[in-house]
């Protein structure tokens, strides 16, 4: 009986080691490329599956494996893959590509693109994927941010949507009626707080980084931007409470529920609002500035890793996506903005997208900075403590800039 026990245990050990050591990598003769795509909506997976199927039919020697990752996990997953030298061939991500380019992980795509191919893009969007003179990221899609307002609320108060900061304060005070309605939703959290900070910073004429690559968030304009945001909260009391914890998506919900009069967000907002509250009438204008209005554009990109064994095949797949048929299909399914001229022209008169396509043409983009993400997190923290009144605004910005310049940007 005892022997039985020993046999059982020993076989267990063997089973375990067998399971572990036995390699399972199937050897395929086909060229196989891995594509890590980010999840935008429930339409994302079906779209890529269909596109891959069509691509594989046209290119029988190539197999594309699509791995769709939720946005919340994209950074974690990519970092892990890079760390283990297991990068996919193609990656779909946001501005963090600059860091990968800076670390020499990405393949420059210029030599793959002829003039005809370069020509299909809206030039500003193609340019947003350039770092140190080389193209690393191709735009997958774009969004544009504007100031959305509740038409009924502004109409009832008899005010026009604001164009400048002083307008903005006037309109806010006119419609503010807490706790029933707060004039302005201003989510400055570490979930896309950089967009909100940019709205104020750029409006004040400031910028994140100067031409020498130094963080200048504490410039005079930067301080003015922060003080303006702080006044909205503390002095005018027009901001939806919880601005420092309730993120953009939840502030959107508050606006949809009629609790917030105005907020800055992206072009996909109306379609969400429509599905949840069909009675809400939304208007949109460019983001009010201290002196002039502007728009913020955000591009998500496709890139090829240097370690890829099948760069040409990977590029062919990317190229396939830009066929008018597929790009347009994706854009419409996701409610995003196109990056090619052909699709833009096609959708110019689209009632939902046309207006935003126009806004995108004059949009400003986030700077291409390898340490963008950590820098942004520091600045968000500084803005939060300053507006909460836990630290003097000037000191908060100076400290953040000092930390960024000495510890983050030098990396």
């Amino acid at each position: 009986m005892k022997k039985k026990a020993i046999v059982l245990l020993v076989s267990l050990v063997f089973l375990l080691s067998f399971v572990f050591v036995y390699g399972g990598g199937s050897k395929e003769k086909k060229v196989s490329i891995k594509f890590m795509a980010a999840l935008y909506s429930d339409a994302t997976a079906p779209f890529w599956n269909e596109t891959v199927e069509a691509f594989e039919k046209e290119n029988p020697g190539v197999k594309v494996e699509v791995d769709i990752v939720n946005w919340d996990s994209v950074y974690q997953k990519t970092t892990t893959l890079i760390s283990a030298k297991q990068e996919p061939d193609i990656l779909n991500t946001d501005t963090i590509w600059v860091q990968y380019a800076d670390k020499d992980l990405l393949e420059p795509l210029d030599s793959y693109m002829d003039k005809n191919f370069k020509d299909i893009f809206i030039p500003a969007l193609l340019k947003s994927g350039v770092y140190k003179g080389k193209t690393y990221g191709l735009p997958l899609l774009a969004t544009v941010r504007g100031l959305f307002y509740n038409k009924d609320v502004l109409g009832k108060a008899g005010v026009e949507p604001p164009k400048t900061w002083s307008d903005f304060v006037k309109v806010s005070l006119a419609i503010n009626d807490p706790p029933k309605l707060y004039a302005f939703g201003m989510p400055i959290t570490n979930f896309e707080g950089q967009a909100y900070i940019s709205y104020f910073l750029w409006a004040a004429g400031g910028s994140w980084i100067d031409e020498n690559g130094k963080c200048v968030i504490n410039s005079e304009a930067g301080l003015r931007a922060l003080n303006f945001a702080k006044d909205l909260v503390k002095k005018y009391k027009v901001v939806y409470p919880g601005w420092s914890t309730v993120n953009r998506d939840d502030t959107q919900k508050a606006m949809i529920a009629g609790k917030v009069g105005m907020m800055m967000t992206a072009n996909f907002f109306p379609s969400i609002a429509k599905s949840e509250n069909p009675d809400l009438k939304l208007g949109v204008v460019s983001i009010p500035g201290d002196k002039k209005q502007y728009n913020l554009g955000v591009v998500d990109s496709l890139m090829i890793f240097k370690r890829s064994q099948h760069k040409q095949a990977a590029f062919d797949f990317i190229k396939f996506y830009y066929n008018k048929k597929w790009h347009e299909k994706f854009i419409l399914a996701e409610g995003m903005l196109p990056v090619t001229k052909a699709v833009s022209n096609d959708l110019e008169s689209n009632p939902g997208l046309g207006k935003f396509i126009k806004m995108l043409s004059s949009a400003r983009f986030f700077p291409a900075e390898p340490s963008w993400e950590p820098m942004v997190l520091e600045v968000i923290k500084a803005w939060q403590v300053a507006i909460l009144g836990q630290k003097d605004p000037k000191k908060a910005l100076d400290d953040a800039a000092e930390k960024i310049n000495s510890e983050i940007l030098k990396k």
Binding site: Y75, N190, F191, P241, G242, T245, A254, A257, K381
Partner: protein, 292 residues
């Protein structure tokens, strides 16, 4: 002497599979983390060069370090204390015969049956001031007259998250207590009853001492799990504003995957390890003061 040797052999064979499994899967990464803490690491966690205590120094210089330490203590002690207290009382109650007992036990496991991320998402939504069900419920019960914005400031959001954690931790804790209660032979109770001891005295003199082992396991495991519990805070406030609702583990995730500062993240892991270890040893000593 010889018999002991033989027994030992059996023991070693018995623990071998477990030992191999743990060493193969967990031990190597853990040792790696230890080593990493003393090296300068690149953005993807690969070793650059030896840097001594540099990572630790940088960690202690972090402006929010004190805040997240206090938060973590508050989070862990508060949640474990409430969870264990509620679960113990609940388990004692559920050990009684009453109508609906079986049904109650099924409901009890619900928060455990759903993934923590989903529960956290759901609660975040329930806490919302305008379209969240909690405010509506409390208004209908006339507990509040105006909507409360639960997640607006750390003062309310942090306790709210502890509440969520307690609800999620109760099932496991209660079930374990229940199983422990059932391993107490009925004769002991009957004997006590014959002796004329009242209910409270029975609980105090018989039940609780016999639950010591379970109590120790439940508390230790809860401390470790709750200390390391990530999804609730990540989903509900993500540490906002300015890390004022971060605990060590959420901060560690941020440092590793948003800041990509793996040096600080490794140093922080080592710190967590020693904290939990100290706690476990002290706690074990406290519980087993009078020998085993």
């Amino acid at each position: 002497m010889i018999r002991l040797r033989k027994e030992e052999k059996i023991a070693y064979i018995c623990i071998l599979p477990s030992f191999i499994l743990i060493s193969a899967v967990i031990f190597f990464p853990v040792v790696k983390t230890f080593i990493n803490a003393f090296y300068s690491l690149d953005l993807y966690g690969n070793i650059q060069h030896f840097s001594g205590f540099d990572n630790f120094k940088r960690l202690f210089r972090e402006d929010v370090f004190l805040r997240i330490t206090i938060n973590t203590l508050y989070w862990t002690v508060g949640m474990v204390f409430i969870t264990v207290a509620v679960s113990l009382v609940l388990a004692l109650a559920l050990n009684h015969e009453f109508i609906g007992r079986k049904f109650s036990r099924i409901i009890l496991i619900l928060p455990w049956a759903a993934s923590v991320m989903i529960s956290a998402l759901l609660w975040k939504w329930l806490f919302n001031s305008d379209y969240g069900m909690l405010n509506r419920l409390l208004r209908e019960l006339h507990i509040i007259s105006e909507n409360i914005n639960w997640l607006a400031t750390p003062k309310t959001s942090f306790p709210a998250m502890i509440f969520v954690g307690v609800v999620i931790s109760i099932p496991f804790t209660t079930i374990t207590f229940l199983a422990g209660l059932q391993s107490i032979p009925n004769e002991l109770y009957e004997a006590a009853r014959v002796d004329g001891a009242n209910k409270l005295k029975v609980i105090y003199k018989i039940t609780l001492p016999l639950l010591k082992n379970v109590f120790f396991i439940v508390t230790t495991l809860n401390v470790i799990y709750i200390f390391n519990s990530f999804p609730i805070i990540w989903v509900i406030t993500r540490g906002n504003p300015a890390s004022q609702t971060d605990i060590v583990i959420t901060y560690l995730y941020k440092k590793a995957f948003l800041y990509q500062d793996f040096g600080i993240a490794s140093a922080l892991s080592i710190l967590i390890f020693f904290l939990l270890l100290t706690f476990s040893i002290l706690y074990a000593k406290l519980i087993y003061k009078r020998g085993e």
